[in-house]
Subunit: 102 residues, 2 copies
DNA sequence: ACAATAGGCAAGCCTTCACTTGCCTATCAA
DNA sequence: TTGATAGGCAAGTGAAGGCTTGCCTATTGT
C-alpha cells in the first residue's frame, strides 16, 4: 500500500504528534478546540490554518477521521494504521516479500 | 527524551525505510554493500554519499549502530527504539504525563 | 611505493514543507 | 437580516531536507 509513506510523513512533525496526543486524550474535538489546547497546554503560537493543514495531513494518513455536524467538524482519532506499521522491521522472519511497502 | 523527534524524522524517508529493510534481511553490511543492494534490488539511482547521509540519520536516531574494522564499517540494525514508539497513542490510558515526548 | 578500495567532509542546488496572510463560504443566534 | 462563529481555499515566504559534486583521508593488496 502506498499509504505507508503518508503515514510516516504524518508522524514526522512534532506538532502533529501533539495533536494526536490531544485526540488520544479526548477524541472528537473541533478545530478550534484543538487550537486552544495547543495554545494553552503546549504554548504553541501557531495559527488556526496551520493546525487545519496538519489535520488534513493526518486525515490523509488515515490517522484522523472527520464528521460534519452543522457548522462543527469533529475530528476522531483512528489508531488502526499505527498498529502494525513498525512490525515490518521487528519480525526477523523474511517469509513474505517486502516490496511495495514504502 | 528528545530522541523521538530524530526517530520519526528518520522513518519519514522511503529510502531510509528501504535501508532498514535491507539491514533487517542482513545485518552488518558495509556502505558499499547497501549501495549495490539499493541499486540492484530497488533500482535506486542514488549516490554513495546520499546513502551515507541516510545511514548517519539512522544512526542519529539510534536505529543503526556501527563498528569499524580496518577500512570496513559495518552497519547493524537496532530495532529497540521502534518497539514502543507507537504505543503512545495505542494506550487510551492517560496514567502518566505525555509531555517532553516529542 | 603505489594503486585500489572503503569511507568522510563540505559546499551548493533544488524540492518539499510548515506556516502565514488575506479573503471567502456556511451555519447559527439575536 | 445582521453579526458572530466554525471552517476552507490559495498564494507567498522562509527554512529544512535530500541529493550531487568535488576533493580528501585511511586501510589494504601487490
Amino acid at each position: 500500500m502506498v499509504v505507508a509513506d503518508d503515514l510516516f510523513k504524518a508522524l514526522a512533525d512534532p506538532t502533529r504528534r501533539i495533536i494526536l496526543d490531544e485526540l488520544t486524550e479526548k477524541s472528537g474535538q473541533t478545530l478550534f478546540e484543538i487550537c486552544s489546547r495547543l495554545s494553552m497546554k503546549h504554548q504553541l503560537g501557531i495559527s488556526r490554518q496551520a493546525i487545519s493543514q496538519h489535520l488534513a495531513t493526518l486525515e490523509a494518513a488515515g490517522l484522523v477521521e472527520t464528521r460534519r455536524e452543522g457548522r462543527y467538524k469533529f475530528h476522531d482519532l483512528n489508531t488502526a494504521p499505527l498498529r502494525h506499521i513498525v512490525q515490518r522491521w521487528l519480525t526477523p522472519d523474511p517469509s513474505e516479500p517486502e516490496e511495495s511497502t514504502s
